[in-house]
């Protein structure tokens, strides 16, 4: 086979294979489904939308101890953390990723996934966190914040249900 012929063959092959490579790239993009079937975020009643209070309020970007509102929030998530690491100062009804992209509270998993990548990966395939619904159909996911309060994410200990009856207690 001459060089010219071989050249032509490679060109032809790449012409036919090109759409395949594009579809591969597309598949990689679609790896993160745009929406997961999640229940609404567990807001404190009456607190959302945040803009109902924050609308028109001057934005103070300086890290400080909050004294008028939200005093109950003690941030125990990361050292030197601050509200605007996650909350968006300009539109309070959204969260902000590190790259400046805004996400809604319903998609807060993207925000958590920025640092907790391995857990996010497990969550997407259904390993981390609880799934309810159908094993062969529609599953209900939970948001990270349903189990981990974002300002102090350590899972709270709970009271166990009673132990089984001992054989000695059976009459």
């Amino acid at each position: 086979m001459s060089d010219k012929k071989r050249h032509l063959l490679v060109m032809l092959a790449s012409f036919f294979l090109l759409p395949f490579f594009f579809s591969l790239a597309e598949a990689a993009e679609q790896d993160i489904p745009k929406k997961f079937f999640v229940p609404p975020p567990p807001f404190t009643p009456g607190i959302f939308p945040c803009s109902q209070c924050h609308q028109g309020m001057p934005v103070n970007r300086k890290p400080r101890k909050l004294e008028q509102m939200h005093q109950d929030i003690v941030l125990k998530h990361m050292p030197d953390g601050w509200c605007f690491d996650c909350h968006n100062p300009d539109n309070r009804d959204k969260l902000r990723l590190a790259n400046g992209k805004l996400v809604s509270f319903e998609e807060s998993y993207y925000l958590c996934g920025q640092c907790h990548g391995t857990v996010f990966r497990d969550w997407k395939v259904g390993l981390h966190g609880k799934r309810t619904g159908m094993w062969n159909g529609e599953k209900q996911y939970l948001l990270c914040v349903h189990c981990h309060w974002p300002h102090e994410p350590v899972f709270k200990s709970i009271r166990p249900l009673p132990p089984p009856m001992k054989p000695s207690d059976i009459k």
Binding site: G126, H128, K130, F155, S157, I158, R159, P160, L161, P164
Partner: protein, 308 residues
């Protein structure tokens, strides 16, 4: 001559004929003729579950539903969903997440109509001290009762029926009242079980439980959605165990324990589906099965999602 021979035959009762007659006579005295209604005789002559055709099974289910309704004064549906083709159920339990709260134990009792008095739990949660050998189940504690879980120095391992691919319980049953269905669930026919408890002795996981007396459960606590081979009302003197919530999973739903777990440590799916979460965890996580050396080949996978 001929007559004489016949006469002799009438008189001399050979051993076989005698035994036949005796057996029939004894059966006659053993069966209480006063309650010989249709339902009683139908129960007595019920065929093995796997030898019945659909119409015969339907008849049996109708009879059992009627009996259950009389007993509990409420409508109870007894289903007979068959195994789906191309499905082999597998279960995953994340030991790095389980906090030992026993929510699964009681969700199982509510779903599967276990007796409350005497108490029967299909799931046992074992507690081990961290750093100790835990392949030896004898070292575990199942009556732990601290004010809060998880405790710092312990970890927890729930044990239930492991739905073995090579189940020793099935081989030990003298009446074939227990068998493995095509989707991998080991099931029991409570109408065929004679209560010899050989299967309980054969099971290396302590997963089978015996009804020592009439199951004690209030009618309002009965879950009316049942399956013939699963959570239908049981009798005194039969063995029962976890069936992966056959009445739910054969309709596509997750088992009750999966949905009850507050930390999401319990996973369930189809082992034959390459995209299922079960396949993902087997391929990507550290996995082990309980007492693997016994060659029971369980479909219950313990894994560690956290820390690799």
């Amino acid at each position: 001559m001929k007559r004489e021979k016949n006469k002799r035959r009438e008189l001399s009762l050979d051993r076989r004929t005698f035994l036949k007659g005796a057996a029939l006579g004894l059966a006659g005295t053993a069966l209480p003729l006063d309650k010989a209604d249709a339902s009683f005789w139908e129960t007595f002559f019920q065929k093995h579950f796997r030898e019945m055709n659909d119409t015969e099974i339907k008849k049996v289910l109708q009879r059992l539903e009627k009996e259950a309704e009389q007993k509990y004064k409420k409508a109870i549906k007894i289903g007979n969903e068959k195994a789906m083709p191309g499905v082999l159920f597998g279960y995953g339990l994340d030991l790095s997440r389980c906090i030992g709260c026993r929510r699964c134990v009681y969700a199982c009792v509510d779903e599967n109509n276990q007796s409350k008095d005497p108490q029967i739990h299909w799931i046992t949660v074992l507690r081990f001290k961290k750093g100790e050998k835990f392949s030896d189940l004898e070292e575990s504690e199942k009556y732990y009762n601290p004010p809060q879980v998880p405790e710092k120095e312990y970890f927890y391992m729930p044990v239930q029926c492991q739905q073995c691919e090579n189940p020793p319980c099935v081989r030990s049953c003298p009446t074939q009242a227990t068998w493995k269905d095509p989707d991998g669930i080991v099931v029991i026919d409570y109408n065929w079980c004679i209560g010899c408890r050989y299967c309980m002795a054969a099971c290396p996981y302590g997963a089978r439980h015996f009804n020592w007396s009439e199951p004690g459960r209030k009618p309002e606590e009965i879950n009316p959605n049942t399956h013939y081979l699963g959570n239908r009302p049981r009798y005194k003197g039969v063995v029962e165990k976890c069936t992966f919530c056959i009445q739910r999973t054969r309709n596509g739903r997750y088992p009750a324990c999966v949905e009850a777990c507050p930390v999401g440590a319990r996973k369930f799916g189809n082992l034959l589906d390459p995209n299922s979460e079960m396949r993902y965890l087997i391929e990507h996580k550290r996995v082990f099965r309980l007492k693997e050396a016994l060659n029971t080949n369980p479909k219950f996978y313990y894994f560690f999602a956290y820390g690799r």
